[in-house]
Structure formats: C-alpha cells, structure tokens
C-alpha cells in the first residue's frame, strides 16, 4: 500500500482504510505544511490551516474527482484556505513584512539582501537558511505560490497551472521572475555552476 499512488490511497481511505490516509498524510505533511508556513509566515496559523486542509480532505474525500490528481486537489484546497486567511490578515501581513521593526531602519525585503557575514559563517549559524526563508516569504504572492509548489512538492508546471488557475506559460514566467528576484536578494550567496 505504501507504493500505491495518492489517488489509490484516497480511494482506499474512502473504503475505510485509515492506514491509507496515514500514508497519504506522511507523503504530504512536510511540503504542505511548509507551503502554508511560507504563505502565512506564522507557524501557529500555518498549523491551523494545515489542520483545516486535512479536515477538508477527510470531509470531501467523496467529492474528489478521479480525473484530477490528488496533489493538485489538496494544494488547491490549501491555496484557497491560505488566500482566505490572507484576506482576513491583510493589514497584519503587510505590517509584519514591510514595516520597520524597532531598532531597524529597513524593511525585510531590503535587509535580507544586505551583505553580511560570509557564507560559511551564516551556514554555521543556520542563518543562510533563515535568510532564504525570509527571501521566499518576501516574494510577491503570485510568484511565491508558484515557487513553493515547484520547490516543495515538485509539481509539474501544468499541475501548478491547474492549482493557481493560470496558463502553464504564465506559471513558468512567474517561476522565472521568482528566481530572478531571489537571486537579487541572495546575490551575496551565489556561486558559479556548471551547465
């Protein structure tokens, strides 16, 4: 059963196999949670939404259409819940990102791109990852969601297109813009790569 595809697992759960659901949860728990975490920028809210997403999967399992992939379905649910949440928290979200903090003179998006300690020093302290996380969170929403779906879950562009409701070419453009923006923010971390 562990090798079964997501749709088979969901079908098994609908027939009463609770273990199939646990397997499904195990597959998606980390990427789904991080998608919500980077979208909400708040662990507590991310956990609430994470729970809501799975509750909807449990409740609406019977409504799942066989012609769609489970991954696109579950991320569509997650995205919709996240958007609802962001609408409610719009002002707070803007404040947390762009407002200057006490003792700081620049917003997050500018501070993460500032040259700081060396890469090695940052890596040792785990700050590189923290900076990357902040840089991702600072991406425009439409770029961030595409980036996260691609990076965290490895969804194909056409699947991401299905989740966010735009053409696949638009998804690619957003992904490219997201990477360019991240590269600008994290320019001090870059290293040359092979073709």
């Amino acid at each position: 059963m562990n090798d079964a595809c997501d749709e088979v697992l969901l079908a098994a759960y609908r027939k009463g196999d609770a273990g199939a659901f646990a397997t499904l949860l195990g597959r998606y728990r980390a990427p789904l949670f991080n998608f919500l975490l980077r979208s909400t920028r708040d662990r507590g809210r991310a956990e609430e939404l994470y729970q809501d997403v799975w509750m909807k999967v449990i409740e609406r399992g019977d409504e799942f259409r066989g012609d769609a992939k489970f991954s696109t379905w579950v991320y569509t649910i997650a995205r919709n819940l996240s958007i609802d949440h962001q609408r409610k928290m719009k002002f707070r979200a803007h404040a947390s990102l762009d407002a200057t903090r006490p003792g700081a003179s620049q917003p997050w998006s500018e501070r993460v791109s500032n040259p700081g300690p060396s890469t090695e020093q940052l890596a040792v302290g785990g700050l590189v990852r923290e900076r990357i996380a902040r840089a991702v969170e600072a991406l425009p929403e439409e770029q961030r969601e595409v980036f996260l779906l691609r990076q965290l879950q490895g969804l194909a562009f056409r699947e991401i297109a299905e989740v966010v409701g735009v053409p696949a070419n638009t998804v690619k453009s957003r992904m490219r813009y997201a990477l360019e923006r991240l590269q600008q923010i994290l320019s001090d971390l870059e290293e040359p790569h092979e073709l």
């Binding site: 980390a30 956990e47 994470y50 965290l152 040359p192 073709l195």
Partner: protein, 275 residues
C-alpha cells in the same frame, strides 16, 4: 537564436523544457552575458534548495489521523443519500397512506348500481342541480367545452357536499362523500346544495351516515380528539344532506367559528334557514 531569446530560454533549459536546448547551450558557450544570466539562475535555484523545511507537530498529525480514523468508523453518507428519508420514515408514510385510504374508502359496498359510471347512470341530484343551476356563461359557438373528468356518483356527491372555495374544502368533501371531487363552479354551489336537500341521493345519504358515525364515534372514544374545521363543516353538510337540520346547524355553527371554514359554513347555515 539571439541573446534575448537565449536568456528567455535559460529557465526552460534548466527545467529541461527548452524548445531549442542545443541552440541555448551554443549561445551560452560563446556569450558571457548569457552565461552570467545562466549562472545567476542556477545560483538562485541552488539557494532555493536550501529553503529550510519545517515539520508540523507530531501531535497535530496524530489528531488528524484520529479524526480520519473516526470518519471511517462512522462513514458519513454522501450528500445525495443524506437527502433521502430513512427507511423507517418511508415505511411510516406508506402505513399512513394505507390508513388514510382505509378511512376514506367506504367500508361497505355501495347499493347496487350506485357505483356505475356517470355516463351509464347519472345521479338524480346531479341532474337536478344542473337543471336548477343559474345560467352559466354560454360557450362561444364551436368552442370546445372545458375538459372534464368523467364524473362518478361519489365524485358528484363530493362536489355537492362542497360549497364556495371548493379547493380548500376538498379534504372535507372527501371525508363527507368518500371521493376526490373536482372543484365545481362557485356559482353552482348553493343551488346544488339546495338540489341536494331536495333530492338526496341514497348513496350520499349512506356515505354521510357512515362518515358522521365514524367521526362521532372517534370523538366519543378519544377525549382529546377534536374534529378539524373541515371535518365539522363536512359533518354539518352531511346532516344538511340528510335533512337533520338541528344537527346540521350545530356542526355548521362550530365550523363557522373557524376562519378557514367560516364563509362556507355561514353560507350553508343560510341555506338551512328557510327550513
């Protein structure tokens, strides 16, 4: 392919979706700017790979799995099924329908010849009612008469038992005569009622007697049973048809105390007065 086209394809090349990967690679080998753009894109992807992955709490996952397991133990019917009534409700409805049918359908067979179709033997009171009815608006020449259902004796009795606002009193008429009646024209009703008194049909009398006896018996047996306004009206009309003026007046007065039967009961009472 020029540099601009190349740089637009860099991302696709990395994602292995480039339209012309060989063309892009060729330009990257000879153009420093395009090569720099490629390196930047790769650097961004490499940085993105280091995005920290956090875990949801184990307790939260455990709670979700418990909820999922509980759901499998108590499967919720689909929306379609939820809209369907439970089996016991359907059975109760069937029993109710049978019970009502037993109540409404006359228990004794009608006198011989009474159940004959109207076309074969029209009841006298119906013909009398038509003779005495006010002149109805004549149909235009050549116009087809309104479609009418074949009228049986019982149906005719029900029609006669009704007075004004016939549709509302359909249940009472059924109760009184044991048949479903078509709504008669309002202007014909008082006259039909008079005709009914003048020429009571044997079948109607028999059925009225049974119904009145049934309702009165039920009233005696069940202290809490209170006849409905329509039933009071129907009993009064039955007594009226039977010629029992005092009984008819008593029941019609009761019926006249209810808003929904007041008009019809008062009209029936007015018909009683000349007697």
């Amino acid at each position: 392919m020029n540099c601009e086209e190349c740089q637009e394809q860099i991302f696709e090349l990395i994602e292995r979706e480039a339209v012309d990967p060989d063309g892009v690679r060729e330009i990257l080998m000879r153009c420093p700017d395009c090569r720099a753009a490629f390196d930047e894109m790769k650097a961004a992807l490499a940085a993105a790979e280091q995005l920290p992955i956090e875990e949801p709490s184990v307790a939260l996952d455990a709670a979700i799995v418990r909820a999922a397991a509980a759901r499998t133990r108590q499967p919720v019917p689909s929306r379609k099924k939820r809209l369907q009534p439970p089996l016991w409700a359907a059975a109760a409805l069937v029993l109710l329908a049978v019970g009502v049918g037993m109540w409404v359908i006359p228990r004794a067979a009608p006198p011989e010849g009474e159940a004959a179709p109207a076309e074969m033997k029209r009841p006298e009171y119906t013909m009398a009612a038509e003779r005495m009815a006010p002149k109805r608006k004549a149909l235009p020449q050549g116009a087809a008469p309104a479609k009418r259902r074949p009228r049986s004796h019982a149906e005719g009795a029900a029609r006669a038992a009704q007075t004004v606002q016939a549709p509302a009193s359909r249940g009472a008429a059924d109760l009184a005569a044991g048949a479903v009646a078509a709504s008669p024209p309002a202007e014909a009703q008082p006259t039909a009622s008079r005709a009914l008194k003048e020429v009571p049909a044997d079948g109607l009398v028999a059925r009225c007697k049974r119904k009145v006896a049934g309702i009165e018996r039920r009233t005696r047996m069940d202290e809490e049973y209170v006849p409905k306004p329509e039933e009071e009206l129907a009993i009064g009309q039955c007594y009226q048809a039977l010629g029992k003026v005092d009984e008819a007046r008593r029941w019609l007065r009761l019926a006249a105390t209810h808003r929904e039967t007041k008009a019809r009961a008062e009209e029936a009472l007015r018909d009683l007065r000349p007697k």
